[in-house]
Amino acid sequence: MISRSLDDHLPSSSTAPHPLQRNLAPHLHPFQKPREYTRAMTAVKMDRMFAKPFVDALGGHQDGVYCLGKDSRRVGIVAGGGGDGEVIVHSLTLRRPLLKIPNAHKGMIGGLSWTSESSDGKRQLISVGKLDGTIKIWKSKAFTPGLREKEVFKGSEFSHGLGDEGAMHLDEAGAIGEEGYQFDDDEEEEGGGLNIDSNKRDKLGENLEPLLTYTNKNGFNGIDHHRTDSIFATASNTVQIWDETRSNSAISNLQFGNSLETVNKIKFNQSETSVLASVGNDRTMCLYDIRTGKAERRIVMQFVSNAISWCPTLPTMMLLASEDHNLYTFDIRNLNSPNQIYKGHVGGVMGCDWSPTGEEFVSGAYDRTVRLWNRESGKSRDVYHTKRMQRVFDVTYTPTADFVLSASDDGNVRIWKSNASKKLGVISTVERQAIEHRQKLIERYSTEKGIKSIKERRHVPQSIHNATKLKREMIESRKVKEDRRRDHSRKGREKPKAERKKAVIVEQK
């Protein structure tokens, strides 16, 4: 006979937890699958309900923002280059400009990059002009607000007898949020610092003189800094390598054969740091090695690429943002065909950037949307848009992979969450477990129709929606025509060509 003792089943004291008995036999847990499915449905609905990706818009630009300069060693800072030659260094944590340089260049800014100094206080900003053909290196203590004056120059050539101790590294560098705000009244900062007086800040920006200026006959379209060395590369009608410690002309010019093409963007590889890749106006992507000073190989594609990015974790993987609305990943060991084609945008893709994890990337396009992608799947994971965001010209991931920044024509740098429904702030263990459980459930049932439709449904503006529809119809009719042509031609004459084989026209060595 069953006889249960209350001693086993009631709590031993008033504060003790209620004793639980488990029996995992399936006959005591009926409807396991339907119940789990219902839970997954709730989870996926919650996920969409909490999807609020937009964090903030950083204003201050008088014209559109056409390039972003991410400091890959600092989380809280980004520089934006405007169409009127203005450079603004934004603080993401304070959400306001730290420094405005109104007339950094005459005309549009071509690109922005930070130097590779290991200490925040010594890092400099390099900007290139698209029209005036100058490179300017800027330095200001406003770049590192919160750093005390002594600390700023400790270990640098400006320090007064403190010596080069190398103590100023990233960890102790006093980036914002690490040391907290320092609103010291007695410590008068001239417009920099955290207690930003906007008038002082503007005055500081106006009076700021570049540390160094290089001039060139042609305008620059892009710039990228070497990961560790004091070298940077620029993209104009050729690829030029510069040394920031020398104040004369470029140390070398790189070009593929005798081709005279305008180079649009340029990027150094993050692992094999002397390799760099460029995309050019002749629909090309070219690889260079600065040790040999040669262009190694080049591919010509169907359409011109607007941006390029190296995967931070897979050294041979690169991403191209193409004018044909697609993105392509290439393994540079096999440049004949892309690894994966990423379709979804309905305008030329203007910018792309990998997540620091190398699993995801972000892209911004001329169709006024920002899309987020998984490396493994050709469909976008998420699409971000707002009513006021105009054409997106550059996007970047923050170094912590939590946020995505987009620079658009309307003169704003926008901060988005990289995971739309992720909760910001401290999460308790219980909550985290619940979140993980929900994610697992969604993943498990994501192939089911009801869950899939909720998970993948995104509201997009009418214009994008219509453009997508139109594009789909056009492609479909093109394919139907191809089918018919194949039906009425001799067998084997018109073989279908794989989509991946179409992208690259020729590989040159």
Partner: protein, 633 residues
């Protein structure tokens, strides 16, 4: 550049020497060596002891201070099924998968699945087993001619402990009519309702009365809803819902003249059927009537639910049993079960059955056991002498057959010689009383019987499931946990669309694309094919046929739902449902011959002739006339 290419080159193949060494050792030792340090030189330092032996510092530092993850424990599992855990391997059929990542993922899933199955078995073996004997049933000396069914209730009561013997109690409520009873899902609370309108609910273990009301009209059935807080009563004209204090909350006007009720706890559906034979599903969480289905078989004699699939079973006067879900207006199964009205249906909820076996009884005095996977023939049938009125299954799969002046209880009905009528386990006499309602108490060895003179509780050792799960049904539920369960229950309410005969259908691939003609099917170009079809064309499809076969082999402990037959895809042919043939059929049915019909018939005949000739020409039976006169046929 070249350095980059070289650094990203393919990984060097593994050195073979490790696997060789492994294969030379015994299989048992090799498997346990998986997480032990491999022989060979290590790059890190070792500490030389005084006796000359060396200690690997890093290994010992871990062993000394940390717990090895339980997944690494292989030797400490007890004997029995536990020892086999070291031998689990992913399914062989997965080796065919080309994609390495997919293969690894599926293998990991398969291993997890097998591991959890073994662990579950271990838990059942070591924790959930009865302390004494096989299943806690009565054991007698068979050689001396002792029979379990000769044992009387007072003998059982005298030999069990005080706590158990106290559970046997009778409520004498004479001249109140016959009683219907219902338990909550955890078996804590009992509701009784007499045909003359006496309704009471109480916590029978604590002896605490919740509510007692006199309705002064005939009551036909009573059912608890999702918890003991609410219960539904099928009264003379409508169904009413009362709360724990006996306050009338709702009058369900749509349920007219109800005779039987069932409540589906995971779907929050109250199901009733009345004299008119309408099966009605009412959502109790939203108060919306879901569907009303006419059974067209008159007033049903019995009703039961399958607790594992939420399918409603109805027994009818003409001897048929029908299976219903809210998603179909026709029964899933219609079964001629008996030669007289079907007056008792019970579904076996026990571990071996999990809703698969169904027992029915008819006025013809026969009890039949059916297998839900194959309704063609009963598994077992036997005659019972007293007029059967009621059937009930216990949590351990015992079947009680209630009739006039007594109850017979059977066990192990699916095993043994199914040709003979089974030997009863216990017989319990209720002299000069007819069983009106009979229920085993969930999670207890108790049988409750409602009859003309109140209710009686009878001790049936070994009938109840001893190990409850407090996450599902907690016998000792506190107030806060009940509130939590109420909220979670509503959040996880299953949609009624998911009630199906096959409970395992969710998450399977639905391959059939019905409703397309031959032309549509064959005119699609390669690009328009689905992924599976494309793979099939390329010869790369991984047909699941062989996998299923293998799975059935090692699934001997039986989720038998796998043994489903391949669904036939209905192919539509062009021209079958055309307007012409429909027109002709209609006309011919009405037997009207007019000019239109004649003209149409002539047209069809001419078409047929042309078609015939064309076919014959194609097959070479006749030679196609060529020449100037060919055009005249």
């Amino acid at each position: 550049m070249d350095a980059l290419l070289a650094s990203a080159g393919p990984l060097q193949p593994n050195k073979k020497n490790f696997s060789k060494g492994k294969s030379s050792g015994g299989s048992a030792s090799s498997s346990s060596n998986n997480y032990v340090k491999r022989n060979g030189s290590t790059s890190h330092q070792t500490i030389t002891r005084s006796d000359g032996s060396k200690i690997d510092a890093s290994l010992n530092s871990i062993l000394g201070s940390t717990r090895i993850p339980s997944s690494f424990h292989q030797s400490n599992l007890a004997s029995g099924s536990g020892s086999s855990s070291s031998q689990i391997k992913p399914d062989q059929s997965l080796n065919r998968i080309q994609d390495k990542k997919l293969k690894a993922k599926l293998q990991r899933q398969d291993l997890n699945f097998k591991q959890s199955k073994l662990e579950k078995n271990d838990v059942n073996e070591w924790l959930n087993k009865a302390v004494s004997g096989e299943k806690g049933t009565i054991e007698v000396d068979e050689e001396l001619g002792e029979k379990t069914w000769r044992i009387k209730q007072n003998e059982i009561q005298n030999s069990v402990g005080i706590a158990s013997s106290k559970k046997k109690f009778d409520l004498k409520l004479e001249n109140m009519g016959t009683y219907k009873i219902d338990y909550t899902r955890n078996g804590r609370h009992l509701a009784i309702a007499s045909s003359k309108g006496h309704v009471a609910t109480f916590d029978w273990q604590a002896g605490k009365l919740h509510s007692e009301i006199q309705l002064k009209e005939s009551v036909r059935d009573i059912k608890f809803l999702h918890s003991e807080d609410f219960y539904a009563v099928a009264q003379k004209k409508y169904v009413f819902i009362y709360d724990q204090n006996g306050v009338e909350l709702h009058k369900l006007k749509q349920h007219i003249d109800p005779t039987h009720m069932e409540f589906l706890p995971y779907h929050y559906l109250l199901t009733t059927v009345g004299h008119a034979g309408y099966l009605k599903y009412h959502d109790t969480s939203t108060g919306v009537m879901l569907t009303q289905i006419p059974t067209r078989l008159g007033s049903p004699h019995s009703m039961a639910q399958n607790p594992h699939s939420a399918i409603i079973h109805l027994g009818h006067a003409n001897g048929t049993m029908t299976l219903w879900s809210p998603n179909m207006t026709t029964p899933h199964v219609k079964l001629l079960a008996h030669r007289g009205p079907v007056n008792g249906i019970a579904v076996d909820p026990s571990e071996t059955s999990a809703g698969r076996y169904v027992a029915t009884s008819g006025m013809d005095g026969v009890v039949k056991i059916w297998d839900g996977r194959m309704w063609g023939k009963e598994l077992r049938s036997w005659h019972v002498r007293n007029q059967i009125t009621n059937l009930s299954y216990s949590g351990m799969g015992m079947l009680s057959v209630g009739g006039k002046s007594g109850i017979t209880i059977y066990k192990d009905l699916q095993s043994g010689n199914t040709q003979h009528s089974p030997t009863p386990y216990l017989t319990l006499g209720l002299p000069s009383l007819t069983v009106n309602s009979i229920k085993f108490c969930p999670f207890d060895d108790l049988l409750c019987v409602g009859h003309e003179k109140g209710i009686s509780n009878l001790l049936v050792p070994g009938s109840g499931e001893p190990n409850f799960d407090s996450g599902e049904t907690d016998l000792y539920e506190t107030y806060s946990r009940r509130r939590e369960r109420d909220v979670r229950g509503v959040l996880e309410k299953i949609k009624p669309e998911l009630i199906t005969l096959d409970t395992d259908f969710l998450g399977k691939i639905n391959e059939s694309r019905g409703g397309e003609t031959y032309d549509e099917r064959n005119s699609r170009s390669f690009r328009q094919l689905g992924r599976l079809e494309r793979l099939r064309v390329n010869g790369k499809a991984d047909e699941p046929q062989s996998i299923e076969e293998e799975e059935e082999d090692d699934d001997d402990d039986g989720d038998g739902n796998n043994a489903q037959t391949k669904e036939k895809v209905k192919r539509k042919m062009k021209g079958k449902g055309g307007s012409t043939s429909r027109y002709l059929r209609k006309k011919q049915k009405k037997n009207i011959v007019d000019n239109n019909l004649l003209a149409m018939k002539a047209k069809v005949a001419a078409q047929k002739k042309v078609e015939d000739t064309r076919r014959k020409i194609a097959s070479g039976e006749i030679v196609k006339e060529t020449g100037a006169l060919a055009r005249f046929g």
